[in-house]
């Protein structure tokens, strides 16, 4: 799949998940995409199936806090560190599921438990897409590994 199509898949999957369960909207198309800076939260997970790979997110702390608050129905200041990490791990899990269903709609994948990583991927990611949100920014990256 051409890189730009793949980027669109990442964008569509992230938008679907963020809007449905995380009550977070993307910025208008054409709005400038802010840079990803500052302390980041980087959930990521592996998946296995007909092919295997990894998906992860890079999220500035403030954006992550807002997303977690939206999901839990709380104010940003009420979100604990543990809740923040757990909500963002679940976000990465759902985006991964949505991406895989768009790429391989008939195949069953096993999604392993997400974890918070250091923010650098092993090797360069195959594709990534940075998304401007109404209040913030996040990056989704996706990497196929060798077929089993």
């Amino acid at each position: 799949m051409p890189v730009t199509e793949m980027e669109q898949v990442l964008s569509d999957a992230a938008a679907e998940v963020l809007e449905t369960m995380f009550f977070t909207s993307l910025a208008e198309e054409g709005e400038p995409v802010p840079p990803i800076t500052g302390p980041l939260v980087c959930p990521n997970l592996s998946f296995r199936g007909p092919c295997s790979g990894r998906l992860g997110l890079r999220i500035p702390l403030e954006t992550g806090r807002q997303i977690a608050a939206n999901f839990l129905g709380l104010e940003g200041s009420e979100v604990t560190q543990s809740q923040l990490q757990d909500v963002l791990c679940e976000l990465s899990n759902m985006i991964c599921g949505s991406v895989l269903s768009r790429l391989e709609s008939g195949s069953i994948f096993e999604l392993l438990h997400p974890e918070i990583g250091p923010g650098e991927t092993a090797g360069s990611p195959a594709v990534s897409r940075t998304l401007a949100l109404e209040d913030g920014v996040l990056e989704v990256w996706f990497q196929w590994e060798a077929a089993p």
């Binding site: 679907e16 998940v17 449905t20 369960m21 995380f22 977690a68 999901f71 839990l72 129905g73 543990s82 809740q83 757990d86 909500v87 791990c89 679940e90 899990n93 759902m94 991964c96 599921g97 949505s98 269903s101 709609s105 008939g106 195949s107 069953i108 994948f109 096993e110 999604l111 392993l112 438990h113």
Partner: protein, 130 residues
């Protein structure tokens, strides 16, 4: 009449979200029980009365498919309605879980209202079973 609900998911965030949907939906909940995987869930089920189970599929130790198989194989657990809540939206998986005995299947991400409706349907089955 109040229902005991068991949510099985390795994400505490997901369990919180489901709990909130339950609280907002007006469904009278007696006990809200939680488990992080199928193994823990079976332990809960053997100790507590449960009216309905919501389960994820991708979980460590014992995944949702194995968990549902165990429930179906156990005469004391077979009649408890199970709702699958999973990122897996393939037709094959949905059919598989319904054939294994799940009463409903909700794909993530979902609207809170959708989960509420599916729970109402599953609880309708809970009424019928008792």
């Amino acid at each position: 009449m109040a229902y005991n609900v068991l949510i099985v998911d390795d994400s505490p965030a997901m369990r919180s979200f489901v709990r909130r949907v339950l609280e907002l939906s007006g469904i009278p909940v007696g006990q809200f029980l939680e488990a992080g995987d199928g193994q823990q869930a079976l332990e809960v089920l053997h100790k507590q009365w449960v009216d309905v189970v919501l389960t994820d599929l991708n979980m460590p130790t014992m995944d949702g498919e194995q968990f549902v198989r165990h429930m179906e194989a156990d005469e004391s657990l077979r009649s408890i309605p199970v709702l699958v809540v999973s990122t897996d939206r393939t037709d094959q998986r949905v059919q598989q879980m319904l054939t294994l005995g799940a009463k409903g299947y909700v794909t993530k991400p979902f609207l809170p209202e959708t989960l509420r409706e599916e729970l109402e349907r599953a609880l309708g089955d809970a009424h019928a079973g008792h």
